[in-house]
């Protein structure tokens, strides 16, 4: 009996001690419980928000439906192509755009991480120079392509070709006076009236110099000095400025890409275009799959897509470019011309040397805004 009572007393004491000990915990627990209940209510609100007719919850994109590309094309070029690709394949494309050199350097530095699939754009001479970063792929329709533009080892696949043309302001220069051939840019006919972008900033200008060397047969140093004399020490800072300078009458004539000229003409600006009589060069731009590409199947689909008949036709009709695929009809305003072959590999190799010769000697003044380079 006595033992039992002791036991009961012990339990009562223990209980009281427990209650006293738990006091601060209770004090802390009550607000905590309130906050937790508040959070629970918050999530109820979240649920409540979804009670809407036709409500959808988008799911993240599965890995097999992704493609990550780097491009040096302008948005007006890559966006319709990429959108059409998405519509046709259901593949989501992530695009990062930038200058050719910037993108290629990024690719060279990051190719081991394997988070980019494809480089879209860039002259094939640049792609050739970086081909250790690319995985060879032979497009399904490779046989349909103009063999002039094919890569020897399929490191890259050409997309379009971009011929170099002369432009003039038709309000200031009559059709009869308009430049006919390359010789006129070296013999003083247009001295001080030539719109030309600084080759240090414009890949197109470098290609123009190479083309002039190939056509005139002059020694490179002599040619550079002669041409610089014609420019009267005036170069423009970007390719875009060439068109503006001619359209505004700042210069009478200019040398630029057919694509740029046609676009300006389509806009209704005062530009007229002439194909050189003795022919011109047409450097293709290309597309290449990166080594370690995370979605190589989709990258191959993209390459097949850009050289498909539909895309090539689109490039001709809407992007003012020339096809690399054969049997694509050209609009009436595109004349045929004699193609001046350029040694892509050699020009790529000698670029630094020629550019350093260009900067030496004659004082060259760069004018105009530093515009975005018209992508080749």
């Amino acid at each position: 009996m006595c033992h039992n009572r002791d036991k009961i007393l012990f339990y009562i004491k223990a209980l009281r001690r427990l209650v006293r000990g738990c006091f601060p915990i209770l004090c802390a627990l009550i607000p905590a419980a309130v906050v937790v209940s508040g959070c629970a209510r918050q999530s109820q609100i979240q649920n409540f928000q979804m009670t809407m007719a036709n409500a959808v919850q988008p799911e993240s994109v599965p890995e097999q439906s992704k493609l990550v590309i780097f491009t040096s094309h302008k948005k007006e070029v890559y966006q319709p192509v990429v959108r059409e690709f998405e519509e046709r394949t259901g593949i989501w494309v992530e695009v990062t755009a930038g200058g050719t050199q910037e993108m290629l350097d990024k690719i060279r530095d990051n190719v081991d991480f394997g988070d980019v699939d494809l480089m879209f754009g860039g002259g094939v001479e640049s792609l050739e120079a970086y081909k250790q970063s690319f995985a060879p792929y032979r497009a399904q329709d490779a046989a349909e392509l103009d063999s002039h533009f094919l890569s020897v080892d399929d490191s890259w696949t050409p997309f379009t070709e971009l011929p170099i043309v002369f432009i003039y302001n038709p309000k200031l220069v009559s059709l009869e006076q308009a430049p006919k051939d390359w010789q006129e840019f070296l013999d003083g006919t247009w001295k001080g009236q030539i719109a030309f972008a600084d080759p240090l900033h414009s890949g197109t200008s470098y290609t123009i110099l190479c083309t002039m060397m190939a056509i005139s047969g002059m020694h490179q140093k002599k040619l550079l000095d002669t041409f610089k004399a014609q420019l009267d020490g005036q170069v423009l800072s970007g390719s875009g400025d060439v068109l503006t300078a001619v359209a505004t009458g700042q210069c009478l004539v200019g040398i630029t890409l057919e694509e740029s000229a046609l676009k300006e003409i389509a806009k209704g600006n005062d530009i007229a275009m002439v194909y050189p009589e003795s022919g011109t060069s047409a450097l293709p731009d290309g597309c290449a799959i990166l080594k370690n590409a995370p979605h190589p199947d989709n990258a191959e689909k993209f390459i097949d897509f850009i050289i498909s008949e539909d895309t090539q036709e689109f490039a001709v009709e809407s992007l003012y470019r020339r096809p690399v695929r054969e049997h694509i009809a050209l609009p009436e305003d595109r004349q045929t011309f004699e193609l001046v072959p350029l040694d892509v590999v050699k020009n790529s190799r000698e670029e630094a040397e020629i550019l350093s010769q260009w900067t030496q000697g004659a004082n060259i003044q760069s004018t105009g805004s530093q515009g975005e380079e018209a992508a080749p």
Binding site: F23, Q44, I45, A53, P80, E86, W92
Partner: protein, 568 residues
Amino acid sequence: MKLPHRSFRTQLLKSFFLVSVIPLLISCVLTVNLFRSKVARDIAASDIEEAERLNGKLTQLFDSFRAVTDQISEDAYIQQALTEGRVRIPSVYASLYRETESIRNISTVDIYSGRNRIYSTGRGTEDKTLPLHYGVLKRASEHPGELVYTVGMEGMDTTTPTLDIARKINQNDGYVVITMHAQGFTTLLGGGLSGQNGFAVVNRFWEPAFRMGSLANASVLAGCRDNLMAGKGYKDGLTGSFYLSDLGDSGLRSIYTAPPALSQDIISSMYRIILILAAVSMGFCLLASAWMSRALSQPIHELSDAMKRLRHGDLDAHVDMQREDEFGQLAEGFNKTSARLKTYMEEQVSQQKQLNDTKTAMMQAQLNPHFLYNTLDTIKWVAKEHHVPEIAALSQSLAKILRRSISGEPFCTLEDEIDLLENYCSIQSFRFDNSFVFDYDIPETLMHAVIPKLILQPVVENAIIHGLEGVPDGRVQVLAKSCGAEDKDLEILVTDNGRGISNEMLQMLARHEAPSLSGHLGCRNVDTLLRLNYGDAYGLSARRLPERGTEMRILLPLRLDSGSNHNS
């Protein structure tokens, strides 16, 4: 005094905290949360309503697109123009304008023959082409008779998107294309969105056909798309609510977004206010508990002080408290108690004084024992002179007994006690006509054992008077021996050969009861004396011997007299 005061204060503080701060916190947090959920609910409801309204307008518009294109496809003039090629028939425009009346203010309707636009409700008549194998016409040719919705790329204008809706209406590559610009959307949807809300129409790849409000900033939707591509939730890193809805079967999706109902700033400032309130009420709790504890502890302190004085003998301790409450009653009670105590103590003191006076008087009344002793000595010498040796012997023995009994010493040696017994027995022997003999057998060492004075005499007296009554050859013997563990105890046995102790007496001794029979008082006193001196393990016990007689046993601790200089 300090510690209990503090704990009392803590207890008060705890209780105040429990009844004020906790309920305050709970109710505030509950209120904020309720308010928050209410606001969020209301705003969500109005957002949904707004989103539904916009979606409704769009789906209604899409329905009217269907109706308009139905009419156009059935229009005989238009069909004729398409079938015959690029022929301008004046009445075509009349019917085109009539049929597109309902949608012309918000969209442009073009008729394409192949890739060339032949009629347009838009301004101007400039030539326009669309690729047949790319974009919207391609989609339309893949789904003849159906309306296809694509995000436009008209005019290569990449900054403000358009929505192109096309339908193939003629086998000879005849299409009707409806183009909606941002302006058309704004006209339709009524422009202004409330506050920071945004609205957008996107295709299945989250590419926008129209954006307005907060979504006009292209980076928001681009961020959503990047999130989806990165495998995250589309609104990862974005705040606010998003309402996504499919727009009929157009394959387009509308996105309505609203900023959070209550921004984090408001919520956190509300919680800050709650914290300040809690702190203020905590401060009040502290003040109140301090005040209360002081109000309570001061009278307690006074009372406790008075009690301390009382405890230390100050019977005049008095608490002067002018209060009507419980403390006042308590103080009054204390004052009454101390007054009563004082009276009681005074009574006690006067009683004791009386007692002492009486004792003194009694002592003064007692006969001087030395006078008795000297008288007996004189009787002894007178008897010797008159040759009555019995009187001389008797008076000598009585004198010896008297001398020993009046000595102030409470203890004596066993030897002294035996000496006393011999004198006593000589007197008793004379009284009872030499009817008994007394002898003893005690080891020499035990003769020096120290025992309480006069503990053997009553036992021997008991044996002579009660045990040997009527026995002709009586004998009383005293034996002593050491016993117990390590011989620490002393056992003294008093035996007689009388008629034996009565059962009644045995029980009384066993129970240590006061004897009812007079004359046995001496034995009982011995027992009590021994127990008081040495504890309950010691005392007097008795037993009847098997043949005849009684054995009384005295047990006490053995203590030897170290000096052994006791005078006999």
